[in-house]
Subunit: 248 residues, 2 copies
Amino acid sequence: MIRVVPIPLRARIRPGDDLAALLVGAIADAGEALVDGDALVVAQKPVSKAEGRIVDLRDVEPSPEARAIAAEDGGDPRLVEVILGESAEVVRRRGSFIVGRTPAGHVLGSSGVDRSNQDDPDHVTLLPVDPDASARALRDALRAVMGADVAVVISDSIGRPFRRGTVGVALGAAGFATVVEHAGRLDDVGRPFHSTQVHVADQLASAAELALGPAGGVPAAIVRGVGLEAGAEGAAGGLIDRDRDLFA
Amino acid sequence: MIRVVPIPLRARIRPGDDLAALLVGAIADAGEALVDGDALVVAQKPVSKAEGRIVDLRDVEPSPEARAIAAEDGGDPRLVEVILGESAEVVRRRGSFIVGRTPAGHVLGSSGVDRSNQDDPDHVTLLPVDPDASARALRDALRAVMGADVAVVISDSIGRPFRRGTVGVALGAAGFATVVEHAGRLDDVGRPFHSTQVHVADQLASAAELALGPAGGVPAAIVRGVGLEAGAEGAAGGLIDRDRDLFA
């Protein structure tokens, strides 16, 4: 059986906060403890806030390009400027709605720049600079404090082609195999699998998001009982090269 | 807390089998019982098999188009023929790898046609003709037998753009709100959400797939403890119109 245990956190995260310490406290407050093999899924927003990845739009001077894009549909040129700055590549665009590839390689609406759930309406959060590094740091800190060898996922709710709404995916991952390859194994009737690769990390994130909810008061969840495999490729290893992407 | 309880099924499903009755038995064998508010996620493959959605490739006469496509990379023209027949639209194609929009509107590799995990290597399964109808029928049958008002998801493991591997999504859904809209609600700091829509059904499928595994011996899982909202739009309601799809 798999269990998804929500970990509420009363504290508002601020830049410089020790998120690992706050999560350790929140896990104890929930009457839980991390054990070997657990996955801790943490929403991206508190990670970004703790890392100080907050921009005040009042400090942003939009480029001519950002102004031109924003003018197409009355968007905020300052926000467009921030999104372009977070985009290694603009993958899709309709007016000021931009789907960008982040420097870490994830393809996300607004390149992960988010205006919701901020203390100040002119504040936006950016993604962690290196979400895999953030996951590794969190994993190391949790191991140091709790003595448990856990998987860590930094999750985000993202839109995707062909389907409505958002689902949780892994922006960062540490301590387990992100994608599990079933090629060469035998299926139920003894025939080898074609080449089934399962994105375990994204599914952990989606499972956790069912418990996290969007409002931010539950920033983390323990996912327990998934037989995770060893691996160290991070969420970066769950991305596909453009020329091999048969779906895009 | 959310629980994902795998429901193993020893029987091989064959056309005409009463899948609901088999699942009821398997749930009892697992020492479980469905209660109001539970979601039962059932993999697509056993549903398709029970519905007789199996094609013997030896009976397929490929069209000239299927032959031409297969010749590009040495694919099986009979398989291409079946995939084209299941595609209301070819959305992407590279050689004989086709991403198609199924008649029910899902965009899937090979339009859901699957050669793996068959009793006969020349057999392929097609998706249920109307996966939402299959989900509703299963829900009705489960309610009749077990007296519980449950959500049903028919899940599939699908590839998607931008990311490696497969994740579980809902091809069929009944008895709950597929997509939950958070627009108008207040976030943690009292500001209204932008327009966050969460695809709950896909996340249920991904959570369940963590327990299902790809080999087919665990074709279903109970997902318990998710506060599902009422709704009847089915998985069809989780699809996006092409002209509103900003990610495709």
